[in-house]
């Protein structure tokens, strides 16, 4: 009887004991991990490790298959490019010692360094460079970077030639992005799918381990052609909750925090152990109209809205003041952003008059699909001031991309664009050129011949001054036709332990841990 009772009580807990086998296995795992953790602690006295908090997991470590900013940032540590971005944002020789354009600007010959090695110890060759470029050019993930490129050819063992489809102003910026990072041909061909989780590059850090959803670990590459990094162990820790990440930075669990939450900004700035860096981003938020069909094919109506927007109040209301008003459709950090450009200024009376002129003296009601609730709620209130009732529909990103962005089933929406490289072409050409109407990209559905012409010339001209002048024209046409209303650029922040030197905020959230060192 007693035995039976014991058995009975044991069974009561059998439910939780189902976890025992898995739990048991996991215990051994955690013990192993604990040992690793201890090793990390032991290396702390020399302080040569950095734990970098990111709020999502990169999609891949294959540079030719990445297409989001966070993934690019991680790739920057593993892969080198022919031309690299220096800490002040200028372009300097990377794997290529020098380069030369042909007279028509359609060919570039790069002279390669001969002292570059891959993480597996192999010498990097011209064949690897040609392979990497052609792989990127043929990838569906990299078209915004490689769209102007036709192919790369090997000239000899130390020279390669990139052939463009057309002369392209920002081509050097594109070459400096990690999409064109040099990969080991041997490693890719050995296991193409596996490469995404076991990359072999020539960069400052080599891959060690990827624990799904938890962290990605790298160690410094001792044969790096620029010399071994000061930071020997680099861990990207995935902490999706930004408040938890800020606490982890404050208590020293992480050393760097990319993109802290706006709500935590002041706390982090006030913390004497933390240094906060920020810069204006290459992303901007906007009100977009369907210029071709529906209510907003009426230019007066679009114009009325452009005068109803008070950007300063919007930034205070939606971003706690942490944004930069943007009047041209080109973010200020991008090449081609017009200087001292003025958009239509906030003027409620003028907006009301235009609304009446457009045929809506008593106002109107519109559906306002959006991805971003905070700014849209402030905009809703601003539109109410001129008699427009906006019914907000907050959408999931997938649904917005399908219905609004691709199928253009909308009249007015609030969205955002990012320039992957700091050049106006990246954020204007496909967005407003008549060749891209519908099916994504030109979601405003505008086809204005003068605009097309200016975009074409700005894209292909080799004269920077001509390009700048054309982008000013582009901004003016977008403003005068009220094709889209730029609202503000967000601010990119990065917070770090105050003793970690070399940290910088970046307009497209890149970070070069190679430049970091502990004081």
């Amino acid at each position: 009887m007693k035995l039976k009772s014991i058995f009975c009580y044991l069974l009561i807990f059998a439910l939780v004991l189902t976890g025992c086998s898995g739990g048991g296995n996991n215990t051994s795992n955690t013990e192993l991990k604990e040992e690793t953790g201890n090793n990390e602690v032991q290396s702390d006295p020399v302080k040569d490790s950095v734990v970098f908090s990111i709020n999502a997991e990169p999609s891949t470590l294959d540079p030719q298959k990445g297409n989001d900013l966070l993934t690019f940032m991680v790739h920057c540590q593993i892969f080198d490019t022919l031309i690299r971005e220096s800490s002040d944002g200028t372009l300097v020789p990377g794997i290529a010692e020098e380069w030369k354009f042909s007279d028509d600007g359609k060919e570039i010959v790069f002279k390669l360094r001969n002292d570059v090695k891959f993480h597996n110890g192999d010498q990097m060759t011209a064949d690897d460079v040609v392979f990497s470029f052609n792989r990127a050019i043929n990838s569906t993930f990299t078209k915004r970077i490689t769209g102007s490129m036709d192919r790369m050819e090997k000239v000899d063992d130390s020279n390669v030639k990139l052939i463009l489809k057309y002369s392209y102003g920002p081509v050097l910026d594109c070459i400096a992005t990690s999409n064109l990072g040099i990969v080991s041909q041997k490693a890719v061909e050995a296991d193409e799918e596996g490469f995404a989780r076991n990359p072999v590059g020539t960069g400052a850090f080599k891959f060690v381990e990827w624990s799904n959803g938890e962290k990605i670990v790298f160690e410094s590459f001792d044969d790096y052609y620029r010399g071994e990094a000061n930071i020997k162990n680099l861990t990207f820790k995935i902490i999706s909750d930004k408040t938890s990440a800020a606490v982890a930075l404050e208590n020293g669990e992480v050393d760097v925090l990319l993109s802290p939450a706006e709500a935590d900004r002041n706390n982090l700035i006030d913390n004497e152990n933390i240094k906060y860096y920020e810069t204006e981003s290459n992303s901007f938020y906007f009100i977009s109209f369907n210029n071709e069909e529906g209510l907003f094919s009426n230019k007066l109506l679009r114009e009325a809205i452009s005068y109803a927007i008070d950007r300063e109040s919007l930034i205070i209301g939606a971003l706690e003041g942490n944004g930069a008003a943007l009047e041209s459709a080109i973010p200020t950090n991008c090449f081609g952003a017009p200087q001292n450009f003025k958009g239509n200024q906030y003027d409620v009376e003028k907006a009301k008059a235009l609304l009446a002129e457009a045929g809506y003296p008593n106002g109107l009601t519109v559906k306002l699909p959006t991805l971003y609730l905070d700014p849209t709620e402030v905009l809703q209130d601003q539109l109410r001031q001129i008699g427009i009732t906006a019914e907000i529909e907050q959408m999931e990103r997938g649904a917005w991309l399908q219905d609004v962005y691709t199928d253009n089933k909308y009249e007015i929406t609030v969205g955002s664009y990012s320039a992957l490289v700091p050049d106006a072409d990246q954020i204007t050409y496909n967005r407003y050129h008549g060749d891209f109407v519908g099916g994504g990209n030109n979601m405003v559905r505008c086809n204005i011949p003068e605009l097309n012409e200016a975009l074409d010339l700005a894209r292909t001209s080799q004269d920077p001054e001509v390009r700048k002048a054309e982008y000013t024209k582009v901004s003016e046409i977008i403003r005068d036709e009220s094709v889209l209303i730029p609202l503000y650029s967000s601010i990119n922040g990065i917070a770090a332990n105050k003793d970690l030197k070399g940290v910088q905020a970046h307009p497209v959230q890149r970070a070069y841990v190679y430049d970091y060192s502990w004081q």
């Binding site: 009772s5 009975c8 069974l11 009561i12 059998a14 439910l15 939780v16 189902t18 976890g19 025992c20 898995g22 996991n26 215990t27 795992n29 955690t30 991990k33 690793t36 953790g37 999502a56 997991e57 999609s59 891949t60 298959k65 297409n67 989001d68 569906t140 993930f141 078209k143 915004r144 769209g147 799918e193 995404a196 624990s211 799904n212 959803g213 938890e214 962290k215 820790k237 999706s240 909750d241 938890s244 990440a245 606490v247 982890a248 208590n251 669990e253 999931e396 990103r397 997938g398 649904a399 991309l401 399908q402 962005y405 691709t406 990012s418 992957l420 496909n430 519908g438 099916g439 994504g440």
Partner: protein
Amino acid sequence: MLKFIFKRLMMIIPVILGISFIIFSIMALTPGDPARLMLGENATQEDVEKLREEMGLNDNFVVRYFNYMKDVIRGDFGISYRNRIPVFDEVFARFPNTLVLAFWGISLSVMIGVPIGIISAVKQYSIIDTVSLGVALILTSIPAFWLGLMLILLFSLKLDLLPSTGVETWKHFILPSVTLAAGTMATLIRMTRSTMLEVIRQDYIRTARAKGATENRIIFKHALRNALLPVITIIGINFGFQLGGAMVIETVFAMPGLGTLMITSVRLKDTPMVMASVLFVAIAVSLVNLLVDLLYSYIDPRIKSQYAKS
């Protein structure tokens, strides 16, 4: 009994088929194109179309479902759209974290909630009873994310005793387990108390007292065993629920578990990943339910005889 277990195991098959069809339909029929989501705004429509073709998304939904199920039966759950890795690798990598968290969450709540519930019932209307009911009310009302953040602030930031994020050591599981246990504990306190109160008024308890049985024997031998059935149901339901991943807690404590995996995958319309994680959880929950039913039979011989008959 074995026949009963076998029958129950067989019943999991139609459940899984039904769930797989429902989830696949939802993923396929709700707006959003996985290829566009993967490539982002910057991709041209031609790239999106090319990727759709590569991913086999242009086939009819029913064809895709049958192809998918054919592969599943062969043990191939597919490759994640986003990460391009076999989905089961990802699910298996995360499941231990979820399991450990759920195990400790439930264990803590049982170890604390059930005894408090018993004491509350036995000492009804005493100060202990009032306090424990008050605590239960507070624990039920506190949102998990808030409790989690407060625990982090106290134990991690102020006292520097425990880590706030990650799963590297057993210490990393303490705060999340306590946070997870809080809600279930509150339910268990109230549930144990009320069922115990009901049971101790029964005739057979009075009979036991009349026989001269000790109070401990009456409580633990006669009353508790009869009061446990609904409590076990609650434990089973909660454990099953937590196997599905405690999304909020995983997010706050940066734990790579099934909850965050499912949410991220749903947002990215990563159908293979969503399907694998949901099916995995469905099987785990079905097994837990079966276990709960078996526990009933050991606790209550009447149920056992019913199983034997069936």
